[in-house]
């Protein structure tokens, strides 16, 4: 069953089209990465899934029903723009959001205390939000999103503003919730997080879907790149689209007759077949490295614009 399904969804703000005929499904379980550059339509899409915004056209289903029929505690949401009631204490905040989602006061309190304890905030539970550090407040907000132990967790740019330690804590938590059976959808424009966490990906650009699938399928979108160290020119090998001598022109030339080559395979080319061809032809090799494309490269290839680097986000 799809926990989130969009069918030709469009959202316009006056003349600006934020989401354009977007269709995709998120199957239950695992971690789903919703990737795109800033302004690609990620937040707008998630807001529509939560019925905070209504689509201009198209249909959405969340947990098998239209958004708006609140899933109560079944959906946990961490927005990109985070803020809390400054006069409330940490535990009051988490309890309040738990109760808004239909929990009883007692259950909400028990869950809130357990989560705050899990995040190392047990001692700060009675402190007002305005007295907490930014990192602590973000953990409180995360606790508020998770207080109901939701089936579907939607995290909008969850790593924004977190220091590396807390990013690691959050990554661990996301993995833990996914292992426990929850479906996690998180949007990000930082590919490294998605690369580490996501089972499946959706790439959007200018409100439109660019790619959907798993990481292997995404990599298949890029020509396989290899680095070879060989005596002979590899351009004649089958499946090689291009080859470039890496140490040529640096005054070095071949080292003892061996040259480093950057190889790009033709579309559909297989590194294993190339290795087999080298062996069968007696093509002398000292090095045969298959270069695994990063999501960043895939993103650049598919979308044509650079996503943010982690350093920019943590700054």
């Amino acid at each position: 069953m799809a926990v989130l399904a969009l069918d030709r969804v469009t959202k316009r703000f006056d003349a600006f089209t934020a989401v354009d005929e977007l269709s995709f499904d998120v199957p239950e379980g695992g971690i789903f990465g919703f990737l795109g550059a800033n302004g690609a339509g990620k937040t707008t899409t998630l807001r529509m899934a939560l019925d905070i915004l209504r689509p201009t056209s198209g249909t959405l289903e969340v947990l098998g029903r239209p958004p708006g029929q609140r899933g109560g505690g079944e959906i946990g949401f961490l927005p990109e723009e985070r803020g809390l009631y400054r006069q409330m204490t940490a535990v009051e905040t988490v309890v309040y959001f738990g109760r808004l989602k239909g929990m009883t006061a007692r259950d909400a309190e028990a869950s809130a205390r357990s989560l705050l304890d899990r995040f190392g905030l047990a001692a700060a539970a009675a402190r007002k939000v305005e007295q907490l550090s930014k990192g602590m407040a973000q953990k409180v907000q995360l606790a508020a999103a998770l207080v109901t132990s939701p089936r579907l967790i939607i995290l909008d740019e969850p790593f924004t503003g977190l220091d590396p330690v807390n990013q690691a804590v959050l990554e661990e938590l996301v993995l833990e919730r996914a292992r426990a059976g929850a479906t996690v959808i998180f949007s990000t424009h930082v590919m490294q997080h998605a690369e580490r966490l996501c089972d499946r990906l959706l790439l959007v650009a200018r409100g439109r879907k660019v790619f959907q699938g798993d990481q292997d399928a995404a990599r298949a979108e890029l020509p396989t790149r290899l680095t070879l160290t060989a005596r002979d020119d590899p351009r004649s090998l089958p499946g090689v689209k291009s080859a470039e001598a890496l140490n040529a022109g640096k005054g070095g030339g071949p080292r003892d007759g061996w040259t480093d080559w950057a190889i790009a395979l033709a579309p559909g080319g297989d590194a294993g077949a190339l290795l087999e061809a080298c062996t069968s032809r007696g093509f002398a090799l000292r090095r045969f490295d298959i270069h695994r494309a990063s999501l960043h490269e895939i993103f650049l290839h598919l979308v044509g614009e650079a996503p943010a680097q982690p350093a920019e986000v943590a700054a």
Binding site: I52, R54, R70, R82, G83, Y85, R86, L100
Partner: protein, 501 residues
């Protein structure tokens, strides 16, 4: 608990946890207490001692009698006012005898009235009678404190060496208290009547402490004139008996009280409490509306609306806020009302005396129900406008652009309504404004004390309810379309477009 109620409860708690809420809550009781205290502070001084030295021996007694008459006349007026205020039936007062003269209320009392009053036992008998007949809860009648207390010349005052010596010796005495039958008082006036008073160019000399007391001086002068005029008339051959008859003549006049409900004082009395309620409504809306606005803007600027909206619908948030702010308003106005009523029935003073009869004008269940409806509906109608401002403003600075005209739009007509109602509750302006939804609560509440036809209450009430319904639809759309947007709204056209979206 229902999401709306949870939002309402949080809103309520947030507002009542602010300092400005408690300052505002204490504002009204403080104003009432200050007015009570200031009433006492600005009460007239307790009276002055008057020294009269009559070297002729002919005027002193008449002057003393005049002082007594003036005091009795004032007491009779106060007795009459008290009887009227507490609705003590004149028949029962007359049947007891002591109330014959003043039972019908204050009027111009003649020397014959004063004589009859004294003959019936005077002030003591009247007080005893009122104590028996006054309704439960009415305070005891307090007789007026004597304003003028004649005293004998104090020690050190030179009375036998002419007016100049009298004046010189009186000057230092004017700053000191002298003993009187009602306690120590300062000498406010000294009168010296020379032995040859009546001879040409001989004047009675008046010495004051610097405060002009024209009525007192005139009373003494009238007595001096009366005796000198009598002397002149006698000298011209008029029979003393005829003279006595002539001097007893008083030009007859009668007083007619304005018809029931028609006098300006009565209009003010009847309109006072409803008008005060309308004012409280205005005050409570302005305060709680701005608190709610600040809260909403804080939610927008703190970026926490998205988290909330992921849990509740914009309508839940909207109505929760309205319920919360309505609760704040009711608590605030309720506390003020309880305090005011407590003051009215437990304290003395100008405000308390005014509040007690004013409460009677809103004692009927119909009027109470109408007041309550207009209060709640008015609160809701105007709070929605504040919420709309909050929904489209990113900061209080942004909000000011809408808030200032909104406040002017509400308060200026309110001032006009208040003045018009006090002049004539049924005048054209209050009646017209009763049909303009955002002014109807104020206009109708202000008019209710003076009596409003049922059809007008129902019609204006239905129109107000319909207006609130339309407001709800628009604010709901505006709320959904504006809450997560930031930046300029793009003017009224853009606002209306959002509200229609």
């Amino acid at each position: 608990m229902n999401a709306k109620l949870l939002v309402a409860l949080r809103e309520f708690r947030q507002i009542i946890s602010t300092r400005s809420f408690w300052l505002t809550m204490l504002l009204m009781p403080a104003a009432i207490l200050i007015s009570q205290i200031s009433t006492r502070l600005i009460q007239p001084p307790p009276g002055i001692a008057v020294v009269v030295v009559d070297a002729t021996g002919r005027y002193q007694a008449a002057i003393q009698q005049r002082f007594t008459f003036d005091r009795d006349q004032e007491a009779l007026s106060d007795l009459g006012e008290y009887a009227q205020k507490w609705k003590i039936p004149p028949q029962s007062l007359r049947s007891e005898g002591a109330g014959d003269v003043w039972a019908d209320g204050p009027r111009l009392f003649t020397p014959a009235d004063v004589a009859a009053f004294e003959a019936a036992g005077g002030l003591k008998a009247a007080q005893a009678e009122l104590a028996r007949l006054k309704p439960a809860g009415a305070p005891d009648f307090k007789p007026p404190k004597p304003g003028v207390i004649p005293v004998p010349p104090p020690a050190g005052l030179v009375t036998d060496k002419g007016p100049d010596a009298f004046g010189q010796s009186l000057a230092p005495q004017l700053k000191r208290d002298v003993p009187t039958p009602v306690g120590p008082r300062k000498i406010g006036l000294g009168v010296y009547i020379p032995a040859d008073y009546g001879a040409p160019k001989v004047a009675a000399r008046f010495f004051t402490d610097g405060t002009p007391r024209p009525m007192l001086v005139d009373s003494v002068r009238q007595e001096l004139t009366a005796i000198q005029r009598a002397d002149a008339l006698k000298a011209s051959g008029i029979d003393p008996a005829a003279l006595a008859r002539i001097q007893a003549v008083r030009a007859p006049i009668t007083f007619r009280a304005p018809p029931e409900g028609g006098s300006r004082e009565r209009v003010i009395l009847h309109s006072a409490l409803p008008l005060a309620l309308a004012y409280l409504l205005l005050l409570a809306i302005m305060m709680s509306g701005s608190w709610m606005l600040q809260g909403l803007i804080e939610e927008r600027s703190n970026r926490l609306l998205e988290s909330v909206l992921a849990c509740v619908t914009p309508d839940d948030l909207l109505f929760g806020k309205l319920i919360g702010v309505l609760g704040v308003g009711l608590v605030m106005v309720g506390a003020w009302m309880i305090f005011a009523i407590g003051v009215a029935f437990s304290m003395q003073g100008a405000i308390a005396d005014f509040l007690r009869p004013a409460l009677e004008s809103v004692s009927s269940p119909g009027v109470i129900a109408a007041l309550l409806y207009y209060f709640l509906a008015g609160y809701l109608a105007i709070s929605i406008l504040f919420l709309a401002v909050g929904a489209v403003s990113d900061s209080m600075r942004d909000a000011q652009a809408y808030l200032t005209p909104l406040i002017l739009l509400i308060t200026i007509p309110f001032v006009i309504i208040a003045q018009s109602v006090l002049l004539n509750p049924d005048g054209p302006l209050p009646r017209i404004l009763s049909w303009v939804p955002i002014y109807a609560p104020f206009a109708m509440m202000a008019r209710l004390g003076g009596g409003v036809p049922t059809w007008e209450i129902v019609g204006s009430g239905v129109l107000l309810a319909a207006f609130i319904g339309v407001e709800m639809v628009f604010i709901s759309r505006l709320f959904r379309s504006s809450l997560l947007q930031s930046g300029q709204t793009g003017g009224l056209k853009a606002l209306l477009r959002r509200a229609r979206a």
